[in-house]
């Protein structure tokens, strides 16, 4: 973003030399997704912690199918030459751990990986779900991965990310869309996070026939709060991935909404989502497009006040827009055939809902409430082969953050492992991945898109 003068400075030729001399922290330029971009920009290193690893085979098959150069030896030269640096990804299958002693294998693999990983590289640790283990030593080993990953993320440089996937027992063949997301530059600002890929009882999910360049082709999406900011970018991103997009915002934002809708070749629906008729109006409108596959609950407001100064009206307006409206719409989706089998609900939580934020008791409450809503709704959607997930953005560069006082804004940007704010598209890419039909095994998850922000980490 052009108003991040510090990032512009330390990335300029002159600024780089000054920063190097006086030890200013660097701000990496992140590689972001563009259509047609290869999954990885170079070679991948693929390690296994134990002989019982369940997932390495799937990863290897995906990478080799895509023509990626894969090596098992973390020291192996890449690129057909003798180069021992510059790898695009280091992936370790850490499933099958029997005790903390097995962690040494992972250290042995990741130590060279951390030295070799290139700019915007991807380090991915894949483990078993800790809660599925009953033996203390096993569960301890599984849980240890989280501390390893979160710490390694704080050491990664040049825009490389380190993340942890928990793959449920039996879900090892359901990880493709998730692997593609975490390895590609779509996950540029997802850093130091864990995500669980689960099993789907009674549903034989398949990614056969998926067009990975247009993973949302033929699907109809609703995006609330689409007039501007993150919502407008979500609409654009869903469209890029092939969806038809219904753009929703309050009537007073109708002119910006019309621009978004026309930009994405979708339709505009001016609607106050807190109105009693909002769920039925939304479903009625969706019938114009033959029904609904994706609902993105993006609309949100802030009415920040210290709790000591808060009043009932402000409080209620935040809870109504950010939480009650979503609950009401979800209730309607659950009982309506307009919301198709295999549907996707994606909602926007916030770092403030996880870590809390001064002046944001109402906002924080609403965004934490969203997480509770996701937890409880996920099992209700299983019968429809549908899912619900949440993205929790950290500091994202928008018109709202541009209007912050300099001190607050700079703190928001720099107090993360990426030392910068994310872009709206980083949130949008995560939402678009949750929205894929191929992401059928990702349900009830909350993923932070925050460059490993230090708040509540």
């Amino acid at each position: 973003m052009s108003n991040d003068w510090y990032s512009d400075f330390v990335n300029s030729g002159f600024g780089k030399s000054i920063a190097g001399t006086v030890g200013l922290p660097p701000v990496p330029r992140l590689r972001r997704y563009e259509p047609g971009q290869p999954l990885l920009s170079g070679a991948a290193l693929l390690g296994t912690a134990t002989a019982d690893g369940r997932v390495a085979k799937v990863v290897r098959s995906l990478l080799t199918d895509l023509g990626v150069e894969v090596h098992d030896d973390p020291q192996a030269p890449v690129g057909g030459g003798s180069s021992t640096s510059g790898v695009a990804a280091g992936i370790v299958d850490a499933t099958g751990l029997s005790s903390p002693a097995d962690l040494a294998e992972i250290q042995g693999f990741l130590t060279p990986v951390m030295r070799r990983i290139g700019p915007s590289g991807r380090v991915l640790v894949i483990g078993d779900v800790p809660g599925e283990a009953t033996a203390p030593a096993v569960r301890a080993a599984r849980r240890a991965l989280e501390g390893l990953v979160r710490s390694a993320a704080k050491e990664a440089r040049h825009g490389a990310t380190v993340n942890l996937l928990h793959v449920a027992d039996g879900a090892e063949n359901d990880v493709e869309s998730t692997l593609r997301f975490f390895l590609s530059s779509r996950s540029a600002f997802v850093h130091g996070q864990r995500l669980e890929v689960g099993t789907v009882p009674g549903f034989a999910g398949s990614t056969q026939g998926v067009d990975w360049d247009k993973p949302l082709a033929g699907r109809t999406a609703v995006v609330t709060g689409a007039a501007r900011g993150i919502g407008a970018t979500v609409a654009t991103t869903l469209r890029r991935d092939g969806a038809t997009v219904i753009c929703v915002d309050i009537p007073a934002a109708g002119d910006a909404l019309a621009r978004t809708a026309n930009d994405v070749g979708g339709s505009a629906l001016q609607l106050d989502i807190t109105a009693d008729h909002a769920p039925s109006t939304l479903l009625d409108h969706a019938q114009r497009h033959g029904g609904l596959d994706i609902v993105v609950h993006n609309a949100g407001i802030t009415r920040d006040k210290l709790l000591a100064n808060q009043d009932r009206d402000r409080w209620n307006s935040v809870i109504d827009v950010n939480l009650n409206a979503q609950l009401a719409i979800n209730d309607a989706l659950l009982t309506s055939d307009v919301f198709h089998r295999g549907g996707r609900i994606v909602t926007v939580s916030s770092m403030a809902g996880i870590a809390g934020n001064r002046g944001q008791t109402a906002y924080g409450a609403s965004k934490a409430g969203v997480i509770g809503m996701v937890d409880a709704t996920a099992p209700l959607l299983v019968d429809k082969d549908a899912t619900i997930n949440a993205v929790a953005p950290g500091f994202i560069e928008t018109a709202m953050t541009a209007a912050m006082p300099v001190g607050t804004r700079e703190a928001g940007r720099r107090l993360s492992s990426m030392a910068q704010g994310g872009l709206p598209v980083d949130v949008a890419e995560t939402i678009a991945w949750f929205a894929q039909g191929a992401s059928y095994a990702v349900n009830g998850q909350v993923l932070r898109v925050d460059g490993q922000n230090y708040l509540g980490a």
Binding site: T244, C247, P251, A252, A253, G254, D255, L257, A258, R259, A261, N262, G265, G266, S267, A268, L269, Q270, L271, D272, A275, Q287, R288, H289, G290
Partner: protein, 440 residues
């Protein structure tokens, strides 16, 4: 009630609409051109119905106050909009009747099967109005332009005189009488004995009905904000009879005192800027796209009166058009669920109603054995009309058509009744008037 008959092979459907909020002259839209406003209104319509890149049968629009460079106003607006550039257009102008007339044109082509979809619209600005050089200066400049030698040019320019620099600003006057429209209306009001109180009651009702319609979200799918305006800025939701009673009259018939005159700035429409569009289509076109059909366009009639040499009021043409339309469709004035009468002046619609209740007028002027009679006034302009919204001349028809269509659709959905029907009436400068019937 019986369904209105029509000789046309099929009826055009009113699918939906979009307009920008209307703004008082020289206010929020002072720097917006007709083309800006029409383009914005079209783009809002395109967004609402997901028509980006689509080729429609046609877009018909027009403006009363038009720059000479805007000879192809509608085409230019469409080229600047998100519609396909392969959508043909034309401009039409019939004063305040313009966009009811464009609705009629588009509806007729759909009814005849010549097109499957079209947009009827209108736009006007009294803020960004064309200013012309006066006729004397224009003749001098044209003579200079025709001259073939430098000497000839200088000779022609030698005819320049200081008085010629006074520009001609368009005025709301009838060319043949030199009278302002309000003065004409005041004469008619006096002739029919229309009281100040009755006019103010119409005015208060218009504002209150419009405010209530906004409050219940009626316009959420009929309007898109423009330049920061989210509601018609002429709307005075707190308008009261007591407040209006304090205003001084602005239009007086010759020989009338201030206390006898009845027409004020409140019970006359203000000069206004704005644009409005309506999407019409065949039922099949709408069904293919799963788009709603709010109502159907049944029939329309245009009338004109001789207000120059004859003995008729300038704005009384609808009084003649409606009985002709009713007769053709086998209906009476009482056969409607809603009445949408353009409130050019409160007195205008009251004079029209009075004329229809007058046996002598109905017999001598309209050739009717019985007067048309009265109707239930609670069905009149129930979502407000021009006194509250304002009146960008050419845009008013395209404001009223979807308002009525949506009212009919709501009533039909609520009551499940067989036929729900509404009447539209718009008076226009030049002694003309356009009236129409919509039905669900």
């Amino acid at each position: 009630m019986p369904s209105a008959s029509s000789a046309l092979p099929r009826r055009a459907a009113i699918v939906g609409a979009n307009r920008i909020p209307f703004a008082r002259s020289n206010g929020a839209y002072a720097r917006a051109s007709n083309q800006d406003m029409l383009t914005a209104a079209l783009d809002g319509l395109v967004a609402r119905f997901g028509l980006a890149g689509e080729r429609l049968g046609e877009v018909a629009s027009g403006a009363v106050l038009k720059h000479s460079r805007d000879f192809n106003l509608t085409r230019e607006a469409v080229l600047g909009s998100r519609l396909s550039a392969a959508t043909p257009t034309y401009d039409l102008q019939q004063a305040c009747g313009t966009s009811l007339q464009t609705t009629l044109q588009v509806a007729n082509k759909i009814a005849l099967g010549q097109i499957e979809s079209g947009v009827a619209s209108g736009v006007d600005t009294t803020s960004d109005a064309p200013i012309e050089v006066n006729d004397d200066l224009r003749r001098v400049l044209l003579a200079a332009n025709r001259a073939t030698s430098t000497a000839g040019v200088l000779k022609a320019l030698g005819g320049l005189r200081p008085g010629q620099v006074v520009p001609e600003i368009p005025a709301n006057r009838e060319p043949r009488t030199g009278m302002a429209m309000g003065e004409h209306a005041a004469q008619t009001a006096a002739a029919w004995g229309i009281s100040r109180t009755a006019q103010d009651e119409i005015t208060v009702a218009s504002h209150r009905n419009l405010a209530a319609a906004y409050e219940r979200g009626f316009f959420d799918d009929l309007l898109t904000p423009f330049l920061g305006v989210t509601r018609d800025d002429n709307l005075r939701a707190d308008s009261t009879l007591e407040g209006l009673a304090k205003l001084r009259p602005v239009f007086k018939p010759a020989g009338y005192s201030d206390t006898e005159a009845t027409m004020t700035a409140a019970n006359s429409t203000p000069l206004t800027d704005g644009a409005a569009t309506v999407l019409l289509a065949s039922d099949e076109w709408a069904a293919e796209r799963h788009l709603p059909v709010l109502a159907h366009f049944v029939d329309a009639e245009t009338a004109a009166v001789d207000y120059v040499h004859g003995d008729e009021g300038l704005l009384m043409a609808p009084t003649y058009a409606v009985p002709r339309l009713l007769e053709r469709n086998g209906l009476t004035l009482q056969d409607f669920d809603f009445y949408e009468f353009h409130e050019a002046f409160a007195s205008t619609i009251l004079a029209t109603f009075a004329a229809w209740e007058d046996p002598i007028f109905c017999k001598e002027r309209l050739g009717l054995d019985e007067p048309l009679g009265s109707f239930d006034r609670s069905k009149l302009n129930v979502a407000g009309s021009s006194l509250a919204t304002g009146h960008p001349f050419a845009a008013t028809g395209a404001r009223i058509v979807p308002t009525l269509a949506k009212l009919l659709h709501e009533k039909s959905a609520q009551e499940g009744s067989d036929t729900v029907r509404g009447l539209i009436s718009i008076c226009a400068a030049g002694g003309q008037g356009v009236v129409a019937i919509l039905e669900v």
